[in-house]
């Protein structure tokens, strides 16, 4: 019941990230800061928004998060040498650097799924959970652009020694899990209706990230909260009206 669509557990998604570029910038050697800056920078999505920004190599897009700062003793990893001079250098404010990291949309794919594995039982005889999920071609193609565009921006802004990085990892590292009970009008192709109720089991509301039909590229928590507030409001309204 509630899974006539066979979509429950399918289209598991996360954001793909850990890709971008960093660079150093000269100047401001006599400037420093104190305290904990509570935020960084954000560059909203700029690909595949219209004809002018259309890409042939992948669908959808990504945003950048990042920040700049002056290294402390953690400059050790890229400071050459050892000895007294090295030690003194580590105790001085290090070079300014800036890092950009892309957060990209992962497309839904029905083969990316989570399911109960009845063939593999835990010590109590209960089925275990299998996560069968990987980044696909669209994500991998997007990452090339995420990497080179970040480097281009830093270079255009005057950074030196710009370095690209791409450290794919696996879905789950982004801790923005989404999908597995997608929302839709048609019970044949979706699990939840527009009020986050399970099709065919309307007294069950699912209000986390499971409703998402794709992952977009924004941090999803505020969207989950908005969807949850909306679903809760609806549920209360329906209970009051004795429809639930």
């Amino acid at each position: 019941m509630g899974n006539d669509s066979d979509q429950l557990g399918r289209n598991l998604m996360d954001h793909h990230y850990r890709v971008g570029a960093m660079g150093f910038i000269d100047g401001f050697e006599d400037k420093y800061y104190n305290g904990r800056r509570p935020n960084g920078i954000y560059i909203p999505r700029f690909r595949n928004l219209d004809e002018a920004t259309k890409r042939e190599d992948y669908l959808r897009g990504f945003g950048y998060q990042g920040g700049a700062g002056r290294a402390g003793f953690d400059q050790s990893a890229y400071t050459d040498g050892y000895g007294a001079e090295y030690k003194e250098q580590l105790m001085k404010p290090g070079p300014w650097s800036m890092s950009l990291v892309g957060f990209g949309e992962m497309l839904p794919d029905s083969s990316n799924r989570v399911y109960l594995n009845h063939d593999k039982k835990d010590p109590y005889g209960m089925p275990t959970v299998t996560f069968d999920c990987e980044f696909k071609d669209n994500e991998l193609a997007m990452r090339k652009d995420m990497k080179t565009s970040a480097a281009e921006m830093l270079e255009a802004a005057g950074f030196r020694d710009v370095r690209e990085y791409d450290d794919l990892g696996a879905p789950g590292l982004g801790i923005h899990e989404m999908g597995t009970a997608r929302m839709g009008h048609d019970p044949k192709t979706s699990v939840l209706n527009k009020w986050n109720q399970v099709h065919g089991a309307e007294n069950v509301f699912v209000t986390d990230g499971a409703a998402m039909t794709s992952s977009a590229c924004q941090n999803p928590s505020l969207t989950y909260m908005a969807l949850t507030a909306r679903a809760a409001h609806y549920a209360l309204d329906q209970v009051t009206k004795k429809n639930l």
Partner: protein, 198 residues
Amino acid sequence: MERREAMKNMALAMGYTLSASTLASLLTSCGEQVTLDWQPKNFSKEQALNVETLCDAIIPKTDTPGAKELGVPQFLDSFIGEVMTEADRAAYLKELDTFMQLCVDSQGKQLYACDEAEKKAFLDEQNAQNKMKYPGIWGADMVKADMRNFFGKFKDTLVWVFFTTKVAGEELLPYDPVPGGYDACFTITPDTKSWSLG
């Protein structure tokens, strides 16, 4: 970042997590003023002598204490015993042995037995072979770990341990664990030190 946090991050960077009790015993073991004659628990005598020599060469005593004075070799001895798994410890010690042998091959003797010129010749050679590691963000690695040589990896660990000792972290560098407000830009002098907790 608190010292405790910094130490945890150092451990995380090496791929380990620290339990509260392990952390407590490690915190006790480091930062004490020590003499040359200590009993290693996990290093062999020869390994310990080389580790101590390496610590002293990378962060020597200047007008401020060096890594040896602040008990970094003893900390590393505890760290590999109490934090690393047996398999990882074996792998680490094997890497250390390989590194020690490189010095024997190059200078004809163990690092700790080298005079200043021999030490410099060997460490300069090791330093030149090391790949720099640049800061990524949020856990992304810019350089694969195996592209750094033992000298480079040892340097990373040593620096983290040294600057998170009580003396280096609170006295050698300006220590302001609860800064309150955020001052985005002020002018510094050539004597200004970097923050202990960046």
